[in-house]
Every structure is written in structure tokens, then in C-alpha cells.
Symmetry: C2
Subunit: 302 residues, 2 copies
């Protein structure tokens, strides 16, 4: 099960009643935070997210609404008693940018490992059955920007009845389960078909683009920006942001099970958001939140 909390829905700058967009996922006690704008530590507290659980922080790009809350998040992890290392993954220059922020934060007791995203698509292992993929998207020309997928893989079913029937000794079961052949026993004969795991895809601050479509495919949960709700195409093109309708279109095309819209412009009022949600109320898979939203994702039955 993956526990997912969208901590805020704002873009550009925080508002008195709208925190900036940031995503927290927890799989098996392994916490991942995507982006940390100013106020994210407050949103974490308001949503009962444990700062000490965070072992990985992913940064999409170096604009203030995605980075300036980082020292506060790191301080709250330190104050909460975190001592285990933390990995921060982001665009080239991540160590320098975060280093400058941390200097003003004061003492942090845990080790921070930085990993730069070097390729247009890149995989980072978080655990044996948990990994992240970074993919390059199209934001303004002054900044490199990435989307992320978080993926939980799932083992093939271990066909115990068949194993017993074949009288495979107990000591070999673990090898078979992990796909290794043991003597004449071919693992493939004792494992069910491939099973889909869980995939969360998160992408803000971009125009629709190929790598987004590719990486968002078959997400259990897709989180996309909806900077403008109205049909404000020229502005979206100019500012390199996405319209709500474009995000909805992407979700349909990639067959996402669920879509959360977020990262609204500060000019977009909550009434406009609610009106928009009303307009699409028959889209059961669509959520147009005005504040934090939370879901537990389970494996699909297959």
C-alpha cells in the first residue's frame, strides 16, 4: 500500500489558505517528498505527515515555490530526531542550491546525499521493490524541470500448490520465489503471470510533452498542474504551464486511474476551482481539490 498526501494545491506563491504544491508518499515506512515550497513544513504538520519518515526528497526544478521550504522541512526532520541519511535528488546544481538554503537553517544532524538527474529519463532505486523515475518536461527556458513517477513493483504469485506437487524441497522455495532456477526446477513454471504494482506520477510546471505522456501511462494516480482553469491557452504557452483541460486530456490518453489537479495560479479563486469541479463532476476519476487531499493506493486485483 502506498499512502499519498498532496500537501497543498498552490502555485507561484503561498496564500493564507492555500499551501504550495508538494507531494508526500509513504511506502513501507519509506517516505518520499516531492518539492518543498515555503510553508511545506506547516502543511506536513497540518496533515500529520511525520517529518522523520522522509528518506528521499525529489526536487522538480529551482523555482522558489518548489524549493524555499526545504530548509524548514530539513529542520523539522532534525527536530523530530531523524539521524538516518537523507537523499535529495534534483536537477544539476542541486547540492549548491540546497547548500545555500541550509546554511541559513542552522544545524542539521543527519547526512544528506545529493544525486543530480543527468539524463532525460533516469531511474533511482529507493528500496528493493520501490523506485523513482525522473523525466524531463518542458517548463520555461531558464530552468530544467522534471516530473517523477514513484513505482512499487510486485512479485509474481508463488504457486504453492504446484511447488508442493513437484515435491520441491522447502530450502529452495525462496530461490524459486525470487525467480531463480534450482537444478531442473524452472522458476518460471512455479510463478504466476506478471502483476502490475503501483505507480504514482507527478508533474507540474510544464507544457504537455512526450516524456510526460510516456511516463504517466497507466498511473494509478496522476498528479498534474492546472495553473489556469479557464481556456487561457496563450498565457499557458507563454508561461510554459498547463491548462486544467490539457491535464484532463492527458489523464484520459494515458489511461490514468485517478487524476488530481493542483498548482493553481494565485489568481484562481477557490470558487472558480469549485465551479470547475462541478463542471466535471461526472468524471469520477477526477479530483479538483482546493486543499490537501489524501489516498491509500492498493494493488489492483489481478
Amino acid at each position: 500500500m502506498v499512502d499519498v498526501t498532496l500537501l497543498g494545491v498552490g502555485g507561484t506563491y503561498p496564500l493564507p489558505k492555500r499551501f504550495l504544491t508538494s507531494l508526500y508518499c509513504n511506502y513501507n515506512g519509506n517516505g518520499v517528498l516531492i518539492d518543498a515550497g515555503e510553508g511545506t513544513q506547516i502543511a506536513m504538520k497540518a496533515n500529520d505527515v511525520s517529518p522523520t519518515s522522509i528518506s528521499t526528497i525529489l526536487i522538480t526544478h529551482f523555482h522558489g515555490d518548489h524549493t524555499l521550504g526545504l530548509p524548514g522541512v530539513l529542520l523539522s526532520m532534525h527536530n523530530g530526531g531523524r539521524t538516518k541519511p537523507v537523499t535529495i535528488i534534483g536537477p544539476k546544481g542541486i547540492e549548491d542550491v540546497v547548500g545555500g538554503l541550509i546554511r541559513a537553517a542552522g544545524r542539521i544532524d543527519f547526512e544528506i546525499n545529493f544525486k543530480e538527474i543527468e539524463y532525460d529519463e533516469q531511474k533511482f532505486e529507493l528500496d528493493k521493490d520501490f523506485y523513482v523515475t525522473a523525466f524531463k518536461v518542458k517548463h520555461s527556458s531558464d530552468v530544467e524541470c522534471y516530473g517523477f513517477t514513484l513505482n512499487v513493483t510486485r512479485k509474481r504469485e508463488f504457486l504453492v500448490d504446484k511447488v508442493k506437487e513437484a515435491n520441491i524441497p522447502l530450502q529452495y522455495w525462496k530461490d524459486i520465489q525470487s525467480g531463480k532456477n534450482v537444478g531442473d526446477f524452472k522458476a518460471n513454471d512455479y510463478l504466476g503471470p506478471n502483476r502490475s504494482g503501483i505507480k504514482v506520477c507527478y508533474s507540474t510546471d510544464t507544457r504537455p510533452c512526450e516524456l510526460l505522456l510516456k511516463n504517466a501511462r497507466n498511473s494509478n494516480l496522476l498528479i498534474l498542474e492546472a495553473m489556469y482553469l479557464a481556456d487561457n491557452f496563450e498565457r499557458a504557452e507563454d508561461k510554459a504551464h498547463m491548462l486544467a483541460c490539457e491535464a484532463i486530456d492527458i489523464a484520459k490518453r494515458v489511461k490514468a486511474q485517478k487524476l488530481w489537479l493542483t498548482h493553481y495560479s494565485p489568481m484562481v479563486t477557490n470558487d472558480e476551482i469549485r465551479d470547475f469541479a462541478e463542471r466535471f463532476k461526472n468524471y469520477e476519476w477526477l479530483e479538483v481539490p482546493t486543499k490537501a487531499v489524501h489516498v491509500k493506493l492498493l494493488y489492483k486485483k489481478d
Copy 2:
């Protein structure tokens, strides 16, 4: 008139319903901000403080709850259209610390001039009748910490009747008003007694100390930390913070006209703050706020 807004009352870290301690003063369109913890730009918006009015930012010390909101404040000034230079005054190293924070914020179009506090007491002119004094206080040993007074000076009354009686030509009135002698006319004879201006004194993160007592003397408004409300003397000594009762004692000793308590520990609940306020309700000059508070300070009648 000085317009003063205490933007938050929290210490250590921001809470969902408690912004960090930060003070905004406006005299004659000249805005001064003291400290900017995470969320200060949100508190400014919630309290209708114009970001573009800020021409001076004072930083007491380099702990995150006093600095991490700085890039957000600067960004909101930039987004609001500020182009005039801004002065940031703080402890040694201010340019380096703020520089590291700004790098993550993105583009800021106005010039920033940094001024380091070099002495235990130091005056900085903000305008011809408006100045700030920094004074060193006693916080934890790892960090230099300062309190500030903001001062509006007031000219002596120009005794028009006496000037007319002496037949002083109109062209010399301005000189006389500004204290210059003109020929045989001694300015002193045509000006009333000295008049007190307006003094706001702000100091958090300190044990009671001599320079605080000296600089807080006769404040129209004194703003002091009350990290702990309970009689928790050992903890206050250990953490180099002040108890609420110590702040009240100082206000009495320096004859402050008004005292605002602030910078409460996150462990102190709003109920405890209200109980404390109730206990001292016959102290008319004392305010124990749970959230932002605002006042307009006028010259005393004298």
C-alpha cells in the same frame, strides 16, 4: 504616525495556526521589516502589508525561524513590482547567508545593499527623522543576536508668534526651524522644548541583559519574547530565552507604554496564552496575543 503590525507570535517553527514572529513598521511610507521566518510572506498577505513598501529589512540573528522566509518576502516584493533598492541589516555574514537563500529564489530585480552590524550598539539612518538602533543581546553562544529600536524623531515646536514679534524675515524661518542661528537671531529662542518622538523596541531570543534594558527605556511600544509562559527558569537559562514574567518585569522597569509578548515556544498552546493573559488582565499596557496584532502609534501630547 507609525503603523506597527506584529505578523506572528510563534518561535522555533511555524504552526498551522501560528505564524513566526516578525514585525512590520511603516513610517511615512517607509516600511521596515524585522525578521522573516518561514511563512512571513503569507502573514504579510493575511495582514494587508504591502511588500513593495519595505525598504529596510532587519535580521536579529541567523536561526531559521528568523531568516528562512526572507527569499519569499523578497520574491513577493519583486512580484509586487518593487524596483527601488532595499537595505538588509544584520549580524556579520549577512550578505553570505542571504545570498545563499536568494540563489534558490530566482530572479529579483531590485538592488540589495547589505549592512553588517559591527558594534554592540549601532545607529543606522533610514530617513531624516527615522532611524534604527541595533543592540547586542544574549542568546545562545553559537550565534550573535541583536535587538532593534525604531525611532521617529520630532522637531521642537516652531514658536511662530515669537518669530513674528521679532520681525524675522520669512526667508530665514526654515533655518530657524531647523535649529540654525541667523545673524543675531538665535534659533534656540524661537523653538519650544525638546519633544519626544516615537520609539518601538523589539527583542526576541535573549536573556534579560543590560543593553536591552538601556535600549528599551521609555519605548512607546516594546515587543519582547515570552518563549515560556510558565515559571520555567532553568529551561529559559539553558536555551537562552526569556520567560513571560521576565519580559513583563523589564517593561515595568524601562517604563514602556505598551508591551506585546510574542515568540512563544510551539509547546505553548493558545489556551495557555489566553489563561496567562487573563492572569494579567489588570495590566492595561500588556497585550498577550495569540495571533497578529496591529497598532498606530501617535506622538505623545507634550
